[in-house]
Structures are given as C-alpha cells and as structure tokens.
C-alpha cells in the first residue's frame, strides 16, 4: 500500500530512505534507459546507509499501491 514507516524487524526508520531510493532509481532509468539492476539497487541502498537485510527487504519488496486505492476514498 504505502511504505511502512519503520522496518518490521529492527525498527529503523526506512520510509524516508524509500523516497530517496525511488528518486535514485528514477535517475538511473532516465540516464540509462533500463530498469536498475540488482547491483545498482544494492549500491543505492549502501549509499543510503541501509545495511541490514531486514531493512533492505522492506524497500525492495514494497509495492506502492496507494495511488490505485486513492480514487476510491
């Protein structure tokens, strides 16, 4: 739906990092014309300081569906 504020396992605030992650991914998409590869995604998260895999899965596995729900509110 919308990115959870904190990592479910460790409690680190990851919502603001997700916003930056989406921006960086968009930049890569515009510059290279392809979806960011696994290595590129990993690098973005390293730069954001998201080291633990519990926090990384929060960002990688999120599906932002609020835009689809919003028209029914």
């Amino acid at each position: 739906m919308i990115i959870p504020v904190r990592c479910f396992s460790c409690g680190k605030v990851i919502a603001s990092d997700y916003v930056k992650f989406v921006e960086e991914s968009k930049k890569i998409r515009n510059e290279t014309g392809h979806e960011p590869t696994g290595e590129e995604k990993s690098k973005i998260m390293d730069n954001l300081g998201v080291d633990r895999y519990c926090c990384r899965r929060m960002i990688l596995s999120n599906a932002d569906l609020i835009d689809e729900v919003i028209s029914y509110s």
């Binding site: 990115i3 504020v5 680190k12 919502a15 609020i66 919003i70 028209s71 509110s73």
Partner: protein, 270 residues
C-alpha cells in the same frame, strides 16, 4: 573500561572490557527497552468539511483508515528532551502539561503527500520530527487533513514507537594470530586492513575485527590461522532513530542500569 571506537550523531561503536556476557546482555536490553523517548500517542482527526483561507471546501476523508494514519504518526521519530516527565508521574497528575506533553498539529490540503515535515509542534518549537521526509498518507484533489496530536514519553517495552535504538548488537573481541613463516600472504591483509593490526613482531602478526574490514573474513578460510575470542571484552554497536544522539542514549543507559541494580541491592538488603 568503555572505549568508543566510532562515533557519529546517530551511530556508535564501542568496546567494553572486564564484563560478563550477562552484563553485556543487560546493557543491550536496556538500550532497546529502557530509553525514554517522545512519540505521538493521541491523535484527534477533524471529520467533516475543511475550508482554506479562500473559502474552498475540502473533504476530510483519507485513502487510509484513521487508525493506520494514527499508527504511522506514532512511529515518526520526534526530537526528544530526555529530561521530560512521564505522564503517570508528572506533577500535573496525568492531565497533560508542558512538562510531560507536546502538542502537534497537521494542516495539509491536497493533492499531494503529507510528509512528517508537516507535523508542526504547537508549544515547543524545537521538538520537531527528526526526519522530515517520511510519507504519512497521500491526498487526492479536494481532500485535506486537519489533525491535532499529543506526544508523550514512553519506553520501548511498551510499544516500538518508543524504541530509540535499532540494530543493537554485540560480539566478542576476536584476535586472528598469523604466523609469518606459515602464512605467506600476511602482507596482503596488512596492506588492506592497516587499522586492524594490533600487534606485530618478527614471527607473528595479530589482527582484530573490532573495526570492520571486508578482507578479514578471508582469514576464516585459511588453515593455521589461530583465532582467539575473549569473552570478557565486547564490541557493541547500535544506531538511533535520530530522536536522540547515540552518545546521550549510551550514557543514559549506563546510568539506568546502575540505578536498577542499586534498587535490586536495596530490596535484597531489607
């Protein structure tokens, strides 16, 4: 003895000498559970029409349920004055006063995201959200959010929103002892991890992984490397959610442990 190895505003790595694993774990649990911190506890939503300065009418319904929005608001880290009172033992008797409660308000007109920077403290201008970029909810055109919230102090054992630290962990101090005659490529490790060398003489070189260095993990795979672990010296690390500084959290936790042990000793002597 406590020695700080690495210190940033919201990250710390330190070593503690001459303690048992039980003490190390009590320090870890105190860091997770027992640090007071401010978090939004009561949220009052304005339901009905919301008007802006020009008289345009907005709808107060949101795409997420109010309960979910309230939960998300609670999880936003707020800058904290650690000396604030808990509501239960405040001089106001639990009614809520400036010593124990901070009031916030959100007034946002759609369309667009409501971010944590839209949470504005009413009476205490320095206690703003520590992270301004957290999306709370999205508003479509014609929707608006008008909310007042109350933040109170709490402890991590009650709810995760009052947990000031994350990733609290510790490990034993560890020595890798390399015999220079048996292992030829010790120079490679010395070159790659110069900070990790703690002792060197003609016949052997000793590394430690107190300061992380990626190449040291290769030492586990080489035969003849003698690995010594010391169960009286611990390397801790943790980060905070930037509501408090890491160093303040650590000094509070140590005082807190001392205090709790003295309460235990008193009750035993009675």
């Amino acid at each position: 003895m406590l020695k700080i190895i690495e210190l940033k505003d919201n990250f710390i790595r330190f070593s503690v000498d001459n303690i048992t694993p039980a003490i190390a774990n009590s320090l870890r649990r105190t860091l997770i559970n027992d640090i007071p911190k401010l978090a939004i506890e009561n949220v009052i939503f304005h339901h009905g029409e919301i008007r802006d300065a020009d008289g345009n009418v907005y709808d107060s319904s949101l795409p997420l349920f109010d309960e979910i929005v309230a939960s998300r608001l609670g999880l936003v880290p707020l800058k904290t004055n650690i000396n604030m009172n808990f509501r239960d033992n405040c001089s106001c008797g639990g009614k809520g006063c400036d010593l124990c409660t901070v009031t916030y308000s959100i007034n946002k007109l759609g369309p667009g995201y409501v971010y944590s920077s839209d949470i504005v403290p009413v009476n205490n201008p320095e206690l703003t959200p520590a992270d301004p970029m957290i999306p709370i909810v999205e508003l479509k055109k014609g929707q608006a959010m008008l909310v007042t919230c109350e933040a109170v102090m709490g402890l991590g054992k009650e709810h995760a929103k009052w947990q000031a630290t994350s990733g609290v962990s510790y490990k034993y101090h560890r020595n890798f002892i390399l015999n220079k005659n048996e292992i030829d490529n010790w120079k490679f490790f010395k070159e790659k991890c110069p900070k990790s060398v703690i002792k060197e003489n003609d016949s052997e070189i000793v590394f430690t992984d107190d300061i992380p260095c990626n190449f040291l993990s290769q030492l586990f795979e080489i035969d003849n490397v003698k690995i010594e672990e010391d169960d009286t010296k611990f390397i801790f690390k943790f980060e905070t959610d930037s509501s408090l500084k890491a160093i303040d959290v650590l000094s509070y936790a140590i005082k807190r442990i001392e205090n709790r042990f003295s309460i235990l000793m008193e009750s035993l002597s009675d």
